[in-house]
């Protein structure tokens, strides 16, 4: 067995002192912020860029998520955005010259009632027309693809079928943060850690600088990428966002011999699980209902998650939960992100990814870099504007959640 740390290179990034101003200041050094900076430098020739991070790079949701990567979203706008992101994922290891352990092992989404089946079939058909790989699996196919799933008809909510996106999978979140930070740093981007933004300076209705724990930093344009704290940071410029912040919990088991080789999600039974490269089971739980920035949630959510997991995977019964944790997810009214301009000139926002942020990081950074470089949205993020909440042109990814007859 080789040492697991050998994957990481000898050098990652510089720790420069902040300049007095930058062409673009990005607030938030998570996956979205780092990719935005990277693509600004790489694709738009703008490397006079600072990424300001309150704590340590990736210390928010980037390293707290369960790393499920997929693009099988229902609506055209979402599918286009996430598919663009997935295509970028497929080239990242090479592009960043870093093994981010992106593993396209397939993402199963189980259906447990007739409503789920309709929704799944609908999504598969829409995905295929959008050029997103998608398959509908009947029960036998599910059993063949993932023999570990309990398909007994005796289950409280028996599995009736599943959608499968074979190109979906998982990656190593730490490695992704290291990889893109290294690449951005190498292109001259300043990664400034322990630098908390405490204010946004406006001049004649235009955002011109940020106040930080390390002094004032001028900015040609400011891009907010502070998932979990989007509302707090935007409020510094007087900008209100239709965002609510909630805890989202996840957990991990000890390292186990291989027991699961795909990603399994079940909305009806509330499970999503994969087995990471080192061998630990990684599972996501439900969102806690109340607003919170505390990065912790309720224990009962974990217990319910375990009961649900054992319904589907009795074989996990003796595995141990090693660690639970929570991130802060920004939830928007239509469960879709907001990427684009704000009412304040020079200030842009990228938030509201809810539970879907990690998989979107390259795509999100790509379109946001375009937006920050040109002042205009890219075609892919144009629909994800703040204005949609006024016009009503939502991109409602909640789906047909209601069970009704």
């Amino acid at each position: 067995m080789t040492s697991v740390f050998e994957q990481h290179p000898d050098f990652l990034w510089h720790a420069p002192e902040p300049r007095s101003s930058y062409d673009v200041v990005i607030v938030g050094g998570g996956g979205h912020g780092l990719f935005t900076a990277y693509y600004l430098a790489k694709l738009h020739g703008i490397s006079n860029v600072a990424v300001l991070e309150r704590g340590w790079l990736g210390g928010g949701n980037a390293v707290r998520n369960t790393t499920v990567i997929r693009s099988n979203y229902l609506w055209d706008e979402s599918a286009a955005m996430y598919e663009h992101s997935l295509r970028l994922w497929e080239g990242l290891t090479e592009e960043l010259d870093y093994d981010i352990l992106f593993s396209q092992r397939g993402v199963l989404n189980l259906a447990h009632n007739l409503g789920d089946v309709r929704e799944g079939v609908r999504r598969v058909n829409a995905n295929r027309l959008n050029g997103v790989d998608a398959e509908w699996l009947d029960l036998d196919d599910v059993a063949e693809f993932c023999p570990q799933v309990n398909i007994s008809p005796e289950l409280r909510y028996p599995v009736l079928g599943a959608t499968l996106q074979r190109r979906g999978g998982i990656a190593r979140h730490d490695a992704l943060v290291f990889a893109v930070a290294r690449a951005a740093s190498a292109l001259g981007v300043h990664l400034i850690q322990n630098c908390e933004v405490t204010g946004i300076e406006l001049d004649g209705g235009r955002a011109v600088a940020v106040q930080t724990s390390r002094g004032r930093i001028g900015a040609g344009r400011i891009g907010l990428c502070a998932a979990g704290h989007s509302s707090v940071v935007a409020a510094m410029a007087g900008v209100e966002l239709p965002i609510q912040s909630h805890p989202l919990q996840a957990l991990v088991s000890e390292v186990l011999e291989q027991v699961l080789d795909c990603v399994v999600m079940s909305n009806a039974v509330h499970v999503y699980v994969s087995q990471a490269h080192k061998g630990e089971l990684v599972m996501g739980a439900g969102i806690d209902p109340y607003n919170s920035y505390a990065q912790r949630g309720g224990f009962h959510v974990i217990e319910q998650q375990m009961a649900a997991a054992l319904e589907l995977f009795p074989i996990f019964a003796t595995a141990h939960v090693l660690r639970t944790w929570a991130g802060i997810v920004d939830v928007s009214p239509d469960a879709s992100p907001i990427v684009g301009a704000t009412p304040v000139d020079g200030l842009f926002v990228n938030c509201g990814w809810g539970t879907g942020g990690f998989k979107a990081t390259p795509g999100s950074g790509w379109v946001y870099a375009h937006t920050l470089a040109t002042g205009q949205p890219h075609e892919l993020n144009r629909p994800f504007s703040l204005e949609r909440f006024e016009t009503g042109a939502l991109i409602d990814e909640h789906g047909a959640a209601a069970v009704a007859h």
Partner: protein, 90 residues
Amino acid sequence: MLLIPCPWCGPRDEVEFRYGGQAHVAYPADPEAIDDREWSRFVFYRDNPKGRFAERWTHQHGCRRWFNLVRDTATHQIAGSYALGEEPPA
């Protein structure tokens, strides 16, 4: 598992309650008289502060009453509950 002080039933586990988001958001007096922007504020925008937050809860599986609560969203410390229509405690 928060312990929510229902004004009627006393402290009970969070799972007996349903969250109702920001308190003191009045339904527009005449929705037809306001523009799309203003209407969208009512439908989609709620405060999301880090810190003290006046919010609504209902004791869904208890006495079914709605009430207000002041809670710190950074620490989950609850300052207290109070009736709908009352001002939050200082």
